[in-house]
C-alpha cells in the first residue's frame, strides 16, 4: 500500500460568484473522498498576506502539490514561488476545450529567463485553472492522473536509489515524526478560510525574466528591489497601486503578471497563445490607439498624481530599447496575417 499523498489546495474565487462557488463546492466534495489526496481550501491565493493561516499552511506543505485557482497556471506557479512555495513545474494535461484549434499545438517560445532563485526542492507543483471547465469531472480526472504520476515518479526514484526507505515526497523542511509536514494537522479548516483582504501586486515569471531591471527603473512607488544576488524582486508588494499594471507593459519579456488584471496577456496567459495575435479594434470602436509604453506612462502618472506627487511623463525610467523593438517572432506575424485573411476582408 503506497503512502504517497498529493496535497491539493483549492483557492477560492474572491467575491460570491454563484457559478464559481458551485464548482468549488462540487470539487471540494469529490476531492475530500478521493484516495491519496489531502484537500485544503484557502481564500483567493493572490490575496493571502504574510500572516494568513492559509499561507502558513502552504509554506508547510513539503511534498507534491496541486493548486486549483481562478488564475492562469503561470501566474499561480510564480505566485507560489514568490511566497517560498517552490518546486518543479508539474505539467498539467488539462486543456480548455474551447481553445482555437489553430493555436493548439504551438510550442511556447524558448525562454531566456534567469529561472527561480536557489535550488528547487525535489517536488512538483501543478497549477490548474478553474476557468477552463465549468464542471468538476475534468479536474477530478486530472488530479487522479497527477496522483498516479507523482507516485510513479517517487517509486522510480526509490528503486533508482536502491534503498528500502519510507518514501516521502520532497525534502521537508520541518517534518514531524511521521514525515508529514506539521502544517497538515495544525490548522483547522476555519483558520485556513479566514477572510483575506483584496491585494494587488505584480508577480514575476522568472522563467522569462532576464533581470534587465527596466521595471525597477520604471516603477516610482518602490515596489521593486533586488535580492542579495542582485536579482530583481517584488520587494514591497503592498506599495503597488491597485489596478495599475504599468510595469507589466514596459517589461520586454512579458515576465510581469498581474494575475487579476482584465486582459489575459497581463494576467499571465501562456505567452504566444493570446498576446500578439489579436487585432486591436479600439480605433474602430471609437478610441485612440496608444502603444504599450504610452499607456504605461499614463497609468503611472495617474497614480503619481493620486499620491499627491507630480506626473513625470516620459522623463523618468523610460527604457531605451523601443526604437528597434520587434513586436514578436515572425511566426506570430504570419499568423496574424492568416487571421486577417480568414476574415475575408
Amino acid at each position: 500500500m503506497s503512502r504517497h499523498r498529493l496535497t491539493v489546495v483549492l483557492s477560492q474565487a474572491p467575491g460570491k460568484h454563484p457559478a464559481k462557488r458551485s464548482l468549488e463546492e462540487s470539487l471540494a466534495a469529490a476531492l475530500l473522498m478521493e484516495p491519496g489526496v489531502d484537500l485544503s481550501i484557502v481564500p483567493n491565493l493572490y490575496d493571502l498576506g504574510p500572516d494568513h493561516t492559509g499561507r502558513l499552511y502552504l509554506e508547510g506543505v513539503t511534498g507534491d502539490l496541486a493548486v486549483l485557482t481562478w488564475h492562469f497556471p503561470r501566474a499561480a506557479f510564480w505566485l507560489l514561488d514568490r511566497i517560498g512555495v517552490k518546486g518543479h513545474e508539474g505539467e498539467t494535461q488539462l486543456k480548455p476545450a474551447s481553445d482555437d484549434e489553430d493555436e493548439a499545438d504551438e510550442a511556447p517560445p524558448e525562454s531566456q529567463g534567469i529561472g527561480a532563485a536557489g535550488a528547487l526542492p525535489d517536488r512538483h507543483i501543478y497549477c490548474l485553472d478553474l476557468r477552463d471547465f465549468n464542471t468538476a469531472d475534468p479536474y477530478l480526472a486530472e488530479v487522479r492522473r497527477i496522483v498516479a504520476e507523482c507516485r510513479d515518479r517517487a517509486e522510480q526514484k526509490q528503486s533508482a536509489n536502491g534503498v528500502a526507505q519510507v518514501v516521502q515526497l520532497g525534502v521537508p523542511a520541518k517534518p514531524d515524526a511521521n514525515g508529514h509536514a506539521p502544517a497538515l494537522a495544525a490548522f483547522s479548516p476555519e483558520q485556513l478560510l479566514a477572510p483575506a483582504d483584496r491585494r494587488w501586486y505584480p508577480v514575476i515569471d522568472y522563467s522569462r525574466c532576464t533581470n534587465c531591471l527596466e521595471c525597477l527603473d520604471f516603477c516610482l512607488f518602490g515596489v521593486y528591489g533586488v535580492d542579495s544576488m542582485e536579482r530583481i524582486l517584488v520587494e514591497h508588494q503592498d506599495s503597488c497601486k491597485k489596478g495599475c499594471p504599468a510595469c507589466s507593459r514596459v517589461c520586454p519579456e512579458q515576465a510581469i503578471m498581474f494575475p487579476e488584471y482584465k486582459t489575459a496577456a497581463i494576467a499571465g496567459a501562456p505567452v504566444g497563445a493570446i498576446s500578439g495575435l489579436k487585432i486591436d479594434l479600439t480605433k474602430l470602436f471609437g478610441g485612440e490607439v496608444k502603444d504599450a509604453l504610452a499607456t504605461a506612462v499614463e497609468e503611472r502618472d495617474r497614480e503619481l498624481v493620486a499620491d499627491g506627487r507630480d506626473a513625470v511623463g516620459m522623463a523618468v525610467g523610460i527604457p531605451m530599447r523601443q526604437a528597434g523593438k520587434a513586436q514578436g517572432p515572425k511566426d506570430d506575424l504570419d499568423k496574424l496575417m492568416d487571421d486577417l485573411d480568414s476574415l475575408d476582408l
Binding site: K262, T263, K278, I279, L281, T282, F285, L340, L343
Partner: protein, 157 residues
C-alpha cells in the same frame, strides 16, 4: 427581442459575410446598435458588423458603474474575443442605468443573439448623434476600405 434578424433588415457585405442591420434600430459610429426606449432609457449592443470583426467573445469587463454619468466616447470597459481585443466607449452622453448581467456571466449571448439577449447596457440620454439604418450602412460603406487598411496595418508596426 430574441429574433436576431427581423424581416425588415438591411445587410452590409463584409467580403463574403453579410452583416444584418435591423431597420427598426438606431446605430452609433462605434458599431453599437441602439433600441430607443419610450421612457428615455435606451438599450445598446454590438452590431453584427462589430461581432463579425471580433468573433467569439471570451471576456467582457466594465470599468464604470450603474448610475455613472458618461461623456460620449468615455471608456466604459474592454473586451477580448477569439480574434481581437478592444477598449469600449460610451456611444452617447448620458447616465448609465443598467448592465446586462447575463452577458457578463456568459458573453456568448453576444455571438448567439447580438441584437437580442446579447445586449450590453442601457443608458438615459440624447440620441441626436445616432444614425438610422441607412445612414449607418452608408457609414460602413464609406469607411470599409480604411477599416481594412487599419486591420492589415497592424501587421506593419
Amino acid at each position: 427581442m430574441g429574433d436576431s434578424q427581423p424581416a425588415d433588415s438591411l445587410t452590409f457585405q463584409m467580403g463574403k459575410f453579410a452583416a444584418a442591420l435591423p431597420a427598426d434600430m438606431r446605430y452609433c459610429r462605434n458599431h453599437m446598435w441602439c433600441r430607443p426606449g419610450d421612457d428615455g432609457v435606451h438599450r445598446f449592443g454590438f452590431t453584427a458588423y462589430a461581432i463579425r470583426l471580433m468573433q467569439d467573445v471570451y471576456f467582457l469587463d466594465w470599468c464604470v458603474n450603474v448610475g455613472d454619468v458618461l461623456a460620449v466616447k468615455q471608456q466604459v470597459g474592454n473586451i477580448e474575443t477569439s480574434k481581437a481585443v478592444s477598449d469600449l466607449f460610451a456611444p452617447i452622453a448620458g447616465k448609465l442605468t443598467a448592465f446586462n448581467q447575463d452577458v457578463l456571466k456568459d458573453p456568448s449571448h453576444i455571438n448567439v443573439d447580438g441584437y437580442g439577449r446579447g445586449w450590453l447596457f442601457e443608458m438615459a440620454g440624447d440620441l441626436d448623434t445616432t444614425l438610422d439604418v441607412h445612414a449607418y450602412r452608408a457609414f460602413l460603406a464609406a469607411n470599409w476600405d480604411q477599416t481594412q487598411r487599419i486591420l492589415k496595418g497592424q501587421m506593419g508596426e
